[in-house]
């Protein structure tokens, strides 16, 4: 019983955000009279938020190291513009254009990472400069105009769906199959983890709790894939997103690099004296952020089917808010990728829900601001109570 209580306490922060997300979803499900969770709208939710979620993944790494990146929106716009010029104006093939774009993102990240990690200029200043610089450059290369339209092959990244190999008519069968396969994989990995933990004679959660938790996860996975299958199936972007979330969660939780990133944010000096190459790691965190900003820019351009000078406006703030709502600490050292994703979804569902019930953009902004403040206040209240 005691382990159960201590476990619940330890997971309070992450589970409370999931509870908040479920609550917000239920609230808007009722307010919108069931529109929110309609298959069409669920698909929309994913498409609408994908580019912010991609940014949030990179941003949470930056925030864990104790920095911030204000330039991601401008970088996304700039890379979107470059992609537009390459593909639309110069007819470069889509895959090549994507590779070039991501490389440009990496170079921009390296540029900022150099100033931050090696010259030790605060990230706030470097990326504020980057925000102005790349917004300006976007307008220069686009000469103030939008570039459109993109070919189908490029648009497909954002607005396409995986093909249905089985041709199931009303219901997208491949989606269901994927859902079932993932459920099976999930059950097997969880069982395997539990077995190794028992082998090491660690405390594990009681069997009943374990089974209940697994059942809920599988149910969510199956219902989700069913909902998607009744519309157009799994969007391409969801595959990209899921892969990114899995890979980054794994890297942050299980690998040496991940541990080093947390260590730098926790105490840079102690990390350095423990053999962590603090400058190098910080540098690469910003390179990574540059690449993900570029990817976000591509996704946005593909969804809009245009490269515009206004693209990516205020993306940085949504991404940063997602991290903080998801439990990251502004002082560094604390935060998780799944947390940032949940934070992003909280923002996304609120945006979508408030639009559906016809609330103006003015009130939406105000309410989002309050939610961000409330989430962080709740976090700090919890921490004070714990100590």
């Amino acid at each position: 019983m005691q382990t159960l209580v201590s476990m619940a306490k330890k997971n309070l922060r992450s589970s409370s955000m999931i509870i908040a997300l479920v609550f917000i979803m239920l609230l808007f499900q009722i307010l919108t009279e069931g529109i929110l969770l309609k298959p069409l709208n669920v698909t929309n939710l994913i498409l609408q938020n994908s580019y912010i979620l991609v940014l949030a993944i990179g941003m949470v790494l930056v925030i864990i190291t104790g920095h911030i990146d204000l330039s991601v929106g401008s970088i996304a716009a700039f890379v979107g513009a470059i992609a537009g010029i390459l593909i639309v104006t110069y007819h470069v093939s889509t895959p090549l254009a994507i590779i070039i774009s991501l490389l440009i993102g990496a170079i921009i990240g390296a540029w900022q990472g150099f100033w931050i990690a090696y010259v030790k200029i605060p990230a706030f200043i470097v990326t504020l400069a980057g925000m102005l610089l790349f917004r300006g450059l976007t307008m220069v290369v686009l000469q103030g105009q939008s570039i459109a339209p993109f070919p189908k092959s490029f648009q497909g990244m954002s607005s396409g769906f995986i093909p249905d190999l089985f041709g199931g008519g009303e219901i997208h069968l491949l989606t269901i199959v994927i859902g079932v396969v993932l459920s099976v994989i999930l059950i097997f990995t969880e069982l395997k983890n539990r077995r190794t933990q028992l082998k090491y004679q660690f405390d594990v959660s009681p069997t009943s709790v374990f089974v209940a938790k697994l059942a809920v996860l599988v149910a969510i996975l199956l219902v989700f894939s069913y909902v998607l299958s009744t519309y157009n199936g799994i969007p391409n972007i969801l595959i990209i997103l899921a892969l990114l979330i899995l890979i980054y969660t794994f890297v942050m939780r299980k690998t040496i690099v991940g541990r080093h990133i947390y260590a730098i944010g926790g105490n840079e000096k102690a990390a350095q004296l423990s053999g962590v190459k603090t400058k190098k790691v910080t540098f690469w965190v910003f390179v990574n952020m540059g690449v993900l900003s570029a990817l976000s820019g591509l996704i946005f351009a593909a969804r809009l089917n245009a490269a515009t000078p206004k693209a990516g406006n205020l993306f940085e703030l949504d991404a940063i808010a997602a991290c903080f709502i998801g439990g990251a600490s502004a002082y560094g050292g604390i935060g998780t990728v799944p947390g940032a994703i949940i934070g992003g979804l909280v923002m996304g569902v609120m945006n979508n829900g408030m639009s559906l019930i016809g609330l103006g953009i003015d009130w939406q902004q105000a309410i989002k601001g309050l939610v961000l403040l409330a989430a962080v206040a709740f976090d700090i209240y919890n921490k004070n109570k714990a100590s």
């Binding site: 660690f202 690998t255 260590a263």
Partner: protein
């Protein structure tokens, strides 16, 4: 003299899960210096926080009587109004403000919100004279040493018309000279009628200045000793603190010393910011297998700088010289190379450089050694937990579990985590910088035992310490540093405090 200025009656204070204080009683006479002693975690700081209103009325039970009046402090401001001022271990000065600004911070000499700088300066000068500090009131705090900063804190307390001054480990970060100054100042203030409560681990200092000593153990009052009654020795106080006789403060060991394992030749290092200032001048020394070598020296002699510059060039610039490991010349370009080749450095600044306070014990222990428990860069967390558990048992780290945040541990246990961390990296050479600073007597013994074990395993151990008895108690051979040079090398059998001190104060020219 016998008038009671402060009485704390059956104070009980609980934190979630722990009783920090249980029915603690404390009586302080007017005009005396009253020492509060006890091991880390005995409840000394908690008791003082109750007294000064850091923990407000309602969060504890029991009564506080100050000058025979019952006090119910809601915050520090209220206790300060009555003349109770606490100076914390970590000084609460703002580095970029001047001495004068710091002294009158929160108590500005102002008229209708406009600060009168002339009066501020004048009053500061008066206060500085009182504490015997000859500095310009406009000097920034960053530009004066820790010893002088401590005096500024006291001047600040005096500006608040202090009647009862509480000092939490005032000399922990000070060198012998500055400590001496501070203690003399306390005696001076006593003559002026100011009562003081002092928390300290340094027994010799306490016995020099204190009139009475109250000993706490495990959150309870054990006894109050009258120093002037005579027969109060260090051993007597230790017995009260640990609850048993600690006849030997240093564990016994039969050294088995082998060949030279680590040698440094012609080591020169310049200051990281001032490239013309030589910090270390032609240092030569060696460590043998199974040997504990001490480095003695005053603050600023360059001991920590030497250790850090050797440890992957973590300090200084224009570093030159040679390092030999088992007779072969090696180079440590960065910290991870130094670790891989078998060097470990336990920093003097446990919280700032040694630990990641927000991370749990397990993560702290494994950080330098992640490669050894990983495959393809993926950490085997199960193995990590097993290893951390091993060290928790072996080093007797007092904690509910290895999932405890390092920041929640007492100083002694934090140091054990740091030692675990560097033992796990399986080094050949361990450099321990002030390994027992701010640690209570019982835990010190544990740390010495661990150091002895490491030497017995055939490792080379270098101990940097400011406490001469410690150097004499555990080292086989001692190097003495002064002004960035090695001024002497003394074998254990020849070493005395006197001859070490002679080398420590040997200056150039």
């Amino acid at each position: 003299m016998s008038e009671i200025i402060l009485e704390m009656k059956s104070i009980t204070k609980e934190f979630p899960g722990v009783k920090a204080l249980e029915n603690v009683n404390l009586k302080v006479k007017k005009g005396e210096i009253h020492a509060l002693m006890g091991e880390n975690g005995a409840g000394k700081s908690t008791l003082m926080k109750v007294l000064s209103g850091v923990y407000p009325i309602g969060t504890y039970t029991g009564d506080i009587l100050f000058e025979e009046k019952v006090c119910e402090f809601k915050d520090i401001k209220q206790s300060e109004e009555l003349g109770i001022v606490i100076i914390h271990q970590e000084l609460a000065l703002i580095p970029d403000l001047s001495i004068a600004e710091n002294i009158f911070l929160g108590n500005e000499q102002a008229n209708k919100g406009i600060i009168n700088w002339n009066e501020t300066t004048l009053k500061t000068k008066e206060l500085l004279t009182k504490v015997g500090l000859s500095e310009n009131p406009h000097t920034k705090i960053t530009d004066i040493g820790v010893g002088k900063q401590q005096l500024v804190e006291i001047a600040k307390a005096l500006s608040k018309r202090v009647k009862l001054l509480i000092l939490d480990e005032p000399t922990a970060a000070l060198n012998e000279n500055d400590s001496e100054n501070l203690l003399n100042l306390l005696l001076e203030l006593k003559k002026q009628g100011i009562t003081a409560i002092i928390i300290s681990h340094k027994l010799n200092e306490i016995l020099k200045v204190a009139d009475s000593i109250t000993i706490l153990r495990d959150g309870q009052t054990i006894e109050t000793l009258d120093v002037h009654g005579g027969n109060i020795t260090e051993e007597r106080v230790i017995k009260g603190m640990v609850g048993r006789d600690l006849t030997n403060r240093y564990p016994k060991r039969e050294p088995r010393i082998g060949d030279v394992i680590f040698e440094v030749k012609n080591w020169n290092v310049y200051h990281p910011l001032h490239s013309d200032r030589k910090v270390l001048d032609n240092i030569n020394f060696n460590i043998k297998k199974g040997e504990i070598v001490g480095i003695a020296g005053l603050m600023g002699a360059g001991r920590t700088e030497l250790a850090m510059s050797l440890f992957g060039k973590s300090f200084g610039q224009k570093i030159s010289g040679n390092i030999y490991l088992n007779g072969d010349e090696v180079q440590f370009k960065n910290v991870s190379q130094a670790i891989k080749k078998g060097l470990a450095y336990v920093s003097e600044d446990r919280k700032g450089n040694g630990l990641i306070l927000m991370d749990d014990i397990r993560k702290n222990i494994s950080l330098p050694s992640l490669f050894s428990i990983s495959r393809n860069n993926v950490i085997n967390e199960n193995q990590e937990i097993v290893e951390a558990e091993k060290f928790r048992e072996k080093l007797k780290i007092k904690t509910p579990s290895i999932w405890q945040e390092a920041g929640n541990l007492s100083g002694g246990n934090q140091q054990k985590v740091v030692l675990s961390k560097w033992m796990f990296s399986k080094p050949e050479i361990l450099i321990l910088d002030e390994p027992t600073r701010g640690i209570d007597v019982g835990a010190k013994f544990d740390i010495y035992t661990i150091i002895n074990q490491l030497a017995d395993e055939g490792k080379g151990v270098l101990v940097i310490s400011s406490e001469l008895p410690e150097i004499l108690g555990i080292c086989d051979r001692v190097y003495v540093m002064s002004e960035g040079r090695i001024t002497g090398e003394v074998e254990r059998k020849d070493a005395t405090q006197e001859n070490l001190m002679k080398f420590m104060t040997k200056t150039r020219g």
